[in-house]
């Protein structure tokens, strides 16, 4: 029982900058502050045209609210530390990597090819080894989706090495 409790509250024994609550607090405050600073560079409306408040006022208010609420949850976490999360497994990082590969391929080579590569990559690293199912998720299904969107919705996909074969 004690082991379970210790494990759940293990976060408390870490230095403050390694604790989950600090990392979350720091990330939110950092992003909010950068966004808040950027609101000061928004154009302003001359007083004669200004109706109500300036365009930057509302986002500024929201960002201040987010910073204030985040500070509250961080303060409260001293009284009740958050549970320590399990470390993320390898397939998670491979899935994130596949997203990055998807972006690169869709930008440089082909949108359809990017979907196929991601599908086969994810399916394989998630444990699928059967050739038919790998082909199903990477070629057959994306092709069906492509044709469906192209024929029924009249959608034109961005040009690329494979998509051009279909269009031209």
């Amino acid at each position: 029982m004690n082991n379970v409790r210790d494990n759940k509250r293990a976060n408390k024994s870490l230095p403050f900058f390694f604790r989950t609550e600090f990392k979350v607090f720091f990330a939110i405050i950092l992003v909010s502050t950068i966004l808040l600073i950027s609101t000061f560079s928004f154009d302003t409306v001359p007083p004669i045209l200004n109706r109500g408040i300036q365009p930057a006022t509302f986002p500024k208010g929201l960002l201040v609210l987010i910073i204030a609420l985040t500070s509250i949850i961080y303060y409260l976490s001293f009284k009740k530390p958050w549970k320590k999360e399990k470390s993320l497994p390898r397939p998670f990082f491979l899935t994130i990597l596949s997203f990055i590969i998807f972006i690169i391929i869709s930008k440089t080579l082909d949108f359809f090819l990017a979907i196929s590569v991601l599908s086969i990559f994810v399916s394989y690293y998630w444990g699928e080894r059967r050739i038919f199912y790998l082909l199903l998720v990477s070629i057959i299904f994306p092709l069906v989706v492509f044709i469906f969107f192209e024929m029924i919705l009249g959608l034109r996909f961005p040009p690329g090495i494979i998509t051009n074969l279909y269009y031209y």
Partner: protein, 486 residues
């Protein structure tokens, strides 16, 4: 009410929507919100009524579908079915899966039909009341909707509010609608039109769930065998009819409240069923009252949530936020004028929801065994397919590759939000209410000549502000009692 439905095309749409909704509900991690967002681009080929009928039937059937997985594999197909696991699975383990699913099917259908009746009678009343609303009242109402986010689900109220504020912040990206000044665009032209609703929803729900599934690959589901769904016995009816009616009332009421939805309704429905039960000790061990309490409430929330969506343009839940987007995409502006100008459109929706409830009863009763088999599709095949549909669906709306990247960004963000206890639903509600909040605030300030205190001179606005304070205070007090503020 049913007349607009007597067309083979609409009936076909309804049939497809119900079946598709059931499939989505059965698959853990998907559900009517994600499914609705994924199918939204496809609705562009349909007329407005067919499109909204498709979305509402997915909503009704998807909410029920979650119960099948909850009972058979102890994993709620949708968050709204979480309370159903508590008694559904223990009853199934006793070899009574058919009885558990029968009770879930009957109570869901009764709850759903009850809520449609509430919708038919209550939505026009609320719409009439909305004629009294000016900009300050709409602002106060939107604030009330946002403060209700504090009590969404079982999460931390403060984290929910942060997520809600973040959702509103996303809505400010792009050209300011009053002055055309760029905000948070950083020179990227595509961002001038703002961040679309669909990339955010698909990212936060589908892609973040894909990432979640990547962390659960070693999880093994123990599936309970199901022979056939059984109608509840006379004894079960005697035991549960009061619970079903009570939960139907609770679910409809919770649904009407802006931003609340089936998840909150089912938790309250379940706990009230336990409180009023003569045998509370049976709860958690396979009580049919527990199943009835949770299932009647979550399906009753569907009709309830449509009330503010149609009458005021304020979503009653995450899925109705998708339906609201569907309405807007198809050029239908929800609000009091809709009731005056297009009553046949509304009656078509009401009738479709009624029929969808009957249809999922039939499909659930005779096809639960088949739907349960869908859970056997391995994630390593299912999720790459969902990814392909998500990418193409997101791209199709504005034919912009930036939208796909935004979807991926929100997918990763949504994963970390959920990992650290932030619900993603408030982001969706905040995003959809953002423009209303800012627009009505700025117009009110113009009306009041900069005097903010004038808000307090408007009785309806003042009432909403008081309700907002109560909505904020209630979960904080409750959390303090349970020591769950963070």
């Amino acid at each position: 009410m049913m007349a607009p439905l007597f067309s083979s095309k609409l009936l076909l749409v309804l049939l497809f929507g119900t079946l598709f909704g059931l499939v989505l509900g059965v698959l853990p991690g998907l559900g009517p919100t994600t499914g609705g967002a994924l199918i939204l681009p496809f609705t562009m080929t349909l007329d407005p009524l067919s499109a909204i009928i498709l979305l509402t039937s997915i909503y009704c059937a998807g909410t029920y579908g979650g119960a099948i997985t909850a009972v058979l594999i102890n994993t709620p197909g949708t968050p709204a079915a979480a309370a159903t696991c508590l008694d559904g699975y223990p009853l199934a383990q006793k070899g009574e899966a058919g009885r558990a699913l029968g009770m879930a099917t009957v109570s869901s259908t009764v709850g759903g039909i009850f809520s449609v009746i509430v919708l038919v009678f209550f939505a026009p009343v609320l719409a009439n009341l909305a004629y009294e609303f000016g900009q300050p009242e709409y602002f106060a109402l939107a604030i009330f909707g946002l403060t209700m986010l504090a009590s969404i689900g079982d999460g931390s109220p403060i984290k929910n509010l942060i997520a809600g504020a973040f959702g509103i912040l996303i809505s400010t990206v792009g050209k300011d609608f009053m002055t055309s000044i760029d905000r948070f665009t950083y020179g990227i032209n595509e961002l001038s039109v703002g961040i679309g609703f669909i990339p955010v929803v698909v990212g936060l729900f589908a892609i973040s769930e894909m990432l979640t599934q990547s962390t659960l690959l070693d999880q093994v589901f123990k599936r309970v065998a199901l022979k056939a769904v059984k109608l509840p016995s006379k004894d079960d009816y005697k035991k549960t009819w009061k619970t079903i009616l009570r939960s139907s009332g609770i679910g409809s009421f919770i649904g009407v409240l802006p931003a609340e939805g089936g998840t909150v309704a089912s938790l309250i429905g379940y706990s009230e069923a336990k409180r009023f039960s003569k045998n509370p000790e049976e709860f958690g061990k396979g009580s049919v009252e527990g199943i009835a309490g949770a299932e009647a409430a979550n399906n009753a929330a569907t009709g309830g949530a449509m009330v503010p969506t149609l009458a005021l343009g304020i979503p009653g839940s995450a899925t109705t936020a998708v339906i609201l987007t569907g309405l807007i995409i198809h050029g239908v502006r929800p609000g009091p004028d809709l009731f005056k100008e297009q009553p046949e459109f509304l009656y078509g929706i009401f009738g479709a929801m009624l029929v969808a409830n009957v249809l999922f009863f039939i499909f659930g009763f005779f096809g639960a065994k088949i739907f349960a088999r869908i859970t056997l599709v391995p994630n390593k095949i299912l999720w790459p397919m969902i990814f392909a549909v998500s990418v193409c669906g997101t791209y199709s709306l504005s034919q912009s590759i930036i939208d796909v990247w935004i979807m991926l960004f929100f997918g990763v963000l949504g994963f970390f939000m959920r990992r650290y206890g932030f619900s993603v639903v408030p982001v969706i509600i905040g995003l959809i209410l953002g423009e209303l909040v800012e627009g009505t605030l700025r117009q009110s300030i113009v009306i009041f000549d900069g005097n903010w205190l004038m808000f307090l001179t408007r009785p309806i606005a003042l009432t909403f502000f008081i309700l907002s304070l109560i909505a904020l205070a209630f979960p904080l007090i409750r959390s303090k009692k349970n020591k769950k503020i963070i």
